[in-house]
């Protein structure tokens, strides 16, 4: 499946929306709203509100997250912002600052 990949040498300033999985290795500023999973890889830098099904953070994320299924903060990830998701996983070594909302 041809999902979307933002490579490490790419900077996007604006809004990303869509109906397929999104993998970010580069830099994204603005807003991300997809109906599938969002993967923020190590080395990636995201300064955006992120909405997705399962949001997995291994890189750096500044912004609010709304994950409809699950939010996962992997070791060495860094997140600043509010997290809204019914299931939240924060791994040992992850850094997180913000509010957590696990309502429905």
């Amino acid at each position: 499946m041809a999902n979307t990949v933002i490579g490490s040498g790419i900077v996007i300033d604006g809004e990303i929306s869509g109906e397929e999985a999104l993998t970010i290795l580069g830099t994204v500023k603005g807003k991300v709203a997809v109906t599938q999973d969002v993967l923020i890889e190590p080395g990636a830098s995201v300064e955006a509100d992120v909405e997705g099904q399962t949001v997995t953070v291994s890189g750096k994320l500044t912004g609010n997250v709304n994950a409809h299924a699950k939010l996962e903060l992997r070791p060495d990830s860094k997140m600043v912002g509010n997290a809204k998701s019914p299931r939240i996983v924060i791994a040992d070594g992850a850094s997180f600052k913000g509010n957590v909302d696990m309502d429905g």
């Binding site: 041809a2 999902n3 979307t4 990949v5 933002i6 490579g7 490490s8 040498g9 790419i10 900077v11 996007i12 300033d13 604006g14 809004e15 990303i16 929306s17 869509g18 109906e19 397929e20 999104l22 993998t23 290795l25 580069g26 603005g30 997809v34 890889e41």
Partner: protein
């Protein structure tokens, strides 16, 4: 997933509005609104819609582009490409079937130098007559051909039959196939002299 390789892909179900910058190759299968600035190759696939100003090193288009284009190296328009906008690049390849409307700027084209060189060669031979140099200017800027070219984006095929079909092409954004109708015109121009092999050769492209 082979995501380690630095190749960015904007999938068919993804829309990006804003600015994309980068120093790697980018493939667009979805849609982009805004601006793309790349020091790599930008590939706009079939089915993709890009409404953006492009500033890239190399560009390969088989989708639809609306916006002004600047490519430092080259531009390649494949048969399904639909483009509206000005184009500035030193090298262009446009394949049969591609639809384009806009202005092309290939930088300094050395017409004057070529004309001077030609005149220098021609003059010693026919120095006495002033008639000889005359035919050169119309050859460089033929007005009837220019008129035909400007009419082409609206009507890619200038054959008299099927006027309704020509009308359907007036909106260049509609990704209709215009390659097949273009071929009969070429074979028709060849006449009956060598049709069989000529047709085959053209179809193979």
């Amino acid at each position: 997933m082979a995501t380690d390789k630095a190749t960015t892909l904007i999938g068919p179900g993804t829309h990006i509005s804003g600015e994309i910058r980068g120093d790697e190759d980018l493939v667009v299968k979805g849609s982009v609104d805004g601006k793309i600035q790349l020091s790599g190759t930008l590939t706009i696939d079939k089915g993709a819609l890009v409404q953006a100003d492009l500033d890239v090193r190399a560009l390969v288009v088989s989708g639809t582009v609306v916006g002004s284009i600047a490519a430092a190296e080259s531009v390649r328009l494949l048969p399904s490409a639909r483009i509206v906008g000005d184009l500035a690049t030193p090298r262009i390849v446009m394949e049969a079937g591609a639809a384009y409307r806009g202005r092309v700027d290939m930088g300094d084209v050395e017409v004057a130098a070529a004309a001077a060189a030609r005149a220098a060669v021609a003059q010693p031979v026919a120095s006495a007559t002033e008639v000889k140099p005359r035919p050169a200017p119309p050859r460089m800027a033929p007005p009837p051909k220019a008129a035909q070219l400007s009419g082409r984006p609206d009507k890619p095929i200038s054959t008299s039959p099927a006027p309704s079909r020509a009308d359907s092409h007036s909106l260049a954004v509609e990704p209709t196939r215009s390659a097949p109708p273009a071929f009969p015109r070429v074979t028709g121009a060849m006449g009956g002299s060598a049709p069989a092999w000529a047709k085959k050769k053209i179809r193979r492209r």
